[in-house]
C-alpha cells in the first residue's frame, strides 16, 4: 500500500473514533442524568417517609420537608449507561490509537509533526490517561467531560487541519522530536484530566454552599476534598512531564537554532504554562489558596495549554512554525 492509501485508512479510523466518542459522550451524559434521577428518587423516598411520619402523628401540622442529607448514593451499582459509555470509550480509543499507528507507518516517522497529528496524538493520550487513571480510582464520572472535549478537539482538528503525508522537513529531523513533542502531549493529557477534576471540585464546593441545586448527580460524586486530592496527584505528574518538555525543548533549540532559550512565542507560552502549574502546586501550600483558588489555577493552566496549541500555533509568529497548514 502506498503511504497515501495508508493515510486514508488512518483518516477513516480517526473519523470512526470520533463517531464512537460521540456515542460514548451520549452514554456518559445519560449516566449523569440517571445519577440525578437516583438522587431525586432517594430524596423523595426520604421525604415521603417524613410525610408519613408527620401524618401519622397528631395530624396537625405541615410536614417539614427538609432536604435530607443524601450523602451516600442510593445504589453503588454501576448504571447500565456508565458500563456502555466505558465500553464505547475503550472501543473508540483502540480505533483511535490504531489510526495513529497507521498514520505513523504512512509517514515513515512519528505521527506528531503537524497540528492535525498533534491533535490526534494529544486526544489519544487524554483518553489513555483517563482510562489508566480508572485502574487506580473510579473516575468514570469524568467520561462526559473527556469524551466531549476529545470529540470536539479531534473533530475540529481533523476537519480544519488535516494535511497529507509529507516527509519530515530538516528542522524536525531529530531524535528530540520524538521526546519533546511526545512528552508535551503526555503532559497535556494529565492536565486535561486534572482540569476536569478541578471543575467538578469547584462544582462540589459551590453545591456545598447551597448552589447548583439542580445538579443532583453531584451528590453521587466524591467530595470536593477528595476530588482536589486526586486532581493534585494527576496535575503533579503532568507538571513533571511539562518540565521535561521545557528542558528537552531547550536542548533541541540549542542543537537546531544555536541557543537554548530565546523567548520565541512558543517558548514563552510553554514557560507561562509551567509557571501557572508551579503556582498551582504552591497554592496548595499557601494559606487562603488551597481549595477553590488552586482549582481555578489548574483550569486556567489547561486553558493556556489549549491556547498554546491553537492560537499560538496559528496566529503568533515564531520559530515553531510546524502547524503544517
Amino acid at each position: 500500500m502506498t503511504p497515501n492509501q495508508l493515510a486514508d485508512i488512518s483518516l477513516i479510523a480517526v473519523y470512526s473514533a470520533i463517531a464512537v466518542y460521540v456515542l460514548a459522550f451520549v452514554a456518559f451524559t445519560l449516566d449523569l442524568s440517571a445519577r440525578s434521577a437516583r438522587v431525586i428518587a432517594a430524596r423523595d423516598a426520604a421525604a415521603s417517609a417524613v410525610a408519613v411520619r408527620a401524618s401519622g402523628g397528631s395530624g396537625v401540622g405541615t410536614a417539614v420537608l427538609e432536604r435530607p442529607a443524601v450523602a451516600a448514593p442510593p445504589s453503588r451499582r454501576d448504571s447500565r449507561y456508565q458500563r456502555i459509555g466505558t465500553a464505547l470509550v475503550i472501543i473508540a480509543w483502540l480505533v483511535h490509537v490504531t489510526g495513529a499507528v497507521i498514520r505513523g507507518f504512512a509517514n515513515g516517522h512519528v505521527p506528531w509533526t503537524n497540528m492535525f497529528e498533534f491533535a490526534m496524538i494529544g486526544t489519544a493520550i487524554m483518553v489513555g490517561v483517563f482510562l489508566v487513571l480508572n485502574l487506580w480510582r473510579d473516575v468514570r464520572f469524568l467520561g462526559t467531560y473527556i469524551t466531549g472535549i476529545v470529540a470536539i478537539l479531534l473533530g475540529v482538528a481533523t476537519v480544519n487541519f488535516y494535511v497529507q503525508v509529507t516527509p519530515l522537513p530538516p528542522a524536525l529531523q531529530s531524535a528530540w522530536l520524538v521526546v519533546h513533542v511526545f512528552v508535551a502531549t503526555l503532559g497535556t493529557g494529565f492536565f486535561a484530566v486534572g482540569a476536569g477534576l478541578s471543575i467538578l471540585q469547584l462544582m462540589q464546593t459551590r453545591r456545598d454552599r447551597g448552589g447548583l441545586p439542580r445538579w443532583n448527580f453531584l451528590a453521587t460524586l466524591p467530595t470536593a476534598g477528595q476530588l482536589e486530592s486526586v486532581a493534585y496527584r494527576v496535575v503533579v505528574v503532568g507538571f513533571v512531564f511539562w518540565t521535561f518538555t521545557l528542558i528537552a525543548g531547550a536542548i533541541w533549540a540549542e542543537r537546531a537554532w544555536g541557543r537554548y532559550w530565546g523567548w520565541d512565542t512558543k517558548e514563552v507560552w510553554t514557560f507561562i504554562i509551567w509557571v501557572l502549574f508551579a503556582g498551582y502546586i504552591h497554592a496548595r501550600a499557601t494559606r487562603g489558596w488551597r481549595g477553590s483558588r488552586a482549582a481555578y489555577l489548574a483550569i486556567i493552566g489547561f486553558g493556556a495549554v489549549l491556547f498554546n496549541y491553537s492560537v499560538v500555533n496559528l496566529f503568533f509568529k515564531g520559530l515553531h512554525a510546524y502547524s503544517g497548514l
Binding site: N134, W136, R137, D138, Q164, V165, T166, P167, L168, P169, P170, A171, Q173, S174, W176, P222, T223, G225, Q226, S229, R233, V236, F239, V240, T243, F244, I247, A250, W252, E254, R255, A256, W257, G258, R259, Y260, G262, W263, V268, W269, F271, I272, V275, L276, A278, G279, H282, A283, R284, A285, T286, R287, G288, W289, L297, V312, F316, K317, G318, L319
Partner: protein, 551 residues
Amino acid sequence: MLDHRPDDYADGVAAAPRNPRLGPVGWARFAWRQLTSMRTALALLLLLGIASVPGSLVPQRTSDPNGVVMYQQRNPELFKTLDALGAFNAYSSFWFSAIYLLLFISLIGCIIPRTTHHLRSLRSAPPTTPARLSRLPSHRVEHSAAGPEEALTTAHTLLRRSGYRVVRYDQGDRITLSAERGYLRETGNLVFHLALIGILVSIAIGSGFIYSGQKIVLQGSSFTNSTINYDSFNPGRFYVDGQLDPYSFRLDSFEPRYSIEPRTGRVTPQEYTARVTIREQGAAARKGIIKVNEPLDAGGTQIYLLGNGYAPSVSILDPAGKVIDTSTTPFLAQDGALTSLGVVKVPDGLSKQLGLRGFFYPQPVQTAQGIASIYPDAGRNTLLSLEVWQGDLGLNKGVAVNAYSLDTTKMTKLAGRNAPVKALQLTRGQTVKLPNGLGSVRFDGWKRFIGIEIRHDPTKVPMAVLVSLAVLGLLVSLFVPRRRVWVAATKDGSGARLEYAALARGDDPRLSDALASLAWQHLDRLGERPSWTVGPDRDAGGSGARGWSSS
C-alpha cells in the same frame, strides 16, 4: 516552595493582631517578612506568568528584529508608546526584571531559614510520641501474644529496615517508638530551588561571555572567523577583541534534497547538507558536514546551518559592451519553491547610480497572477526578472544600509510595473539592454548560499548540571513521602496491646496503606495471623481498589 513553616503546620484562624509601633528596623523586618512570605512569592510567581504574555504579542528585538521594524512602519504612534514601556525588549525590561528579581529574593529569603531548619532536623531525633495516638489521621489497634518488649524490638528492626529513623520513648507502662522517614523530600525541594537560583546566576554571569554572529557564505567561498567578516555580530558584555579563534572554512558544496507531494504539488525540503573544509590553527585541514540539527564544532564555537538560498550572478555592461561590474548577490527566499527576492546595486561605472530589484525563479511557470516558481531546483528555465531604478542609491552618507532593500526615494523607475519599459527577464547566459541606452545586463548564473550562525556559549555545561539537579530535586520532592510513624505497646494480659499511628508531612496518598502494611508485617513477624491482606489493590484498611477514601 517558599514556605518555611513545617509541612504539617495547620492553618488556624489567626486572632486579630495587635499592631505594635514599628521603628525603621521594625519596618524593614516587616517588609522582609512580607516579601519572603508564601503569599507574596505565589503572587510574584503568577505575576511572572502574566508579565510574560506581552512579549509574545509584539515582536521582540532579540528574536524577530525585522518584525519590530515592520511594526514601527505600520503603527508609528503606538510603537513609540510601547517602545517606551520596553515592550519590544519585554524580557529585559525593567518591569519584567523587577518581578523575577523580587521573586528570586523572596525565594532566597525563604530558602535560607528552611535550609538551616532542615540541617538541624537532619541531626535531631524524631519527636516524642503523642499521648493519644488515636487522634492522628491514620491509626489502628492490634493485639499480640508476644509481650510489649519483644513486640517493640521487632518493630524497631522493621522500621529501621524500612528506612525510618527510630527513637524509643518509654512512658511508664507504655513503651513507644517514634520514627520518621523521607527527609529526602525536603532535601530535594531545597536542591530544586537552589538549582533555580543557580540557573539565574549562571545566566546572569554567563551571558556576558556568549558571543554569536551571522554570516552568509556562498558556495565555493571561504569565511574566516573574525569580527569584521560577520554580517552581524553580537558580543556579550565581557567579550574582548581578539578573543575569536581565527579558524576558517570553505563551503565546498551545499546539497539540498526536496520532495514533491503529487496530489497537492506542495514542495517540502527533505535534507540540507553543507560540506565544508575547516582549517584551524596548528591543525591539518579537515572536512566537515553541517546539517540543520547537527551543528559543527570548530575553534570553541558551534556553526549552525540556519538558512539557504540562491545568489544570482549579474554583470553590467556599459554602452560599449565592456563589463563594468560583476556581482553574485544573495537573494532572500520568499516561499518553499525558493522564489527569491533581492537587490543588485551598481554604484560606479555608469553616468548615474543604478539599482536592480527583482525576483529569481528557479522553476518558473506562468500563472494568471504572474510568474511563480514551482520547484526549488534551478535549471535551464531559471528566470531572473529585474526592475531597473536610476538615481541616488543613498550609499554615500556613510550610514549602514540594508543590502536587501533598495531605497528608491531618490531614484526613478526605468523598467518594471508602472514604468515605461516592462521588467527585464533573463535566462542564464542571456544579455538584455537596459532602458535609455544605459548599457546592458547579463545573467551569468547562480550559486547556492547558506546562512550560518556561529556561537560560543560557555553557560551550557553549568546549565546542564543545574537543570539536572533541578529535575532530580523536583522528582524527589514530589514523590518521596515524608512520614512520621509511632508504635506503642502496653501490657495486655500475657500479650500486648499494640497501637500504630502515622502522620504525613505534605501530600501523601499512600499513608494509610503504608501504615496497614507496616502493621501487617509487624504482626507477621510476631507470629500473629493478621486478619487482613496487604497489596497494591487490596483493601488494607486504607483506600480500597479504585475507592475514594477521605484524604
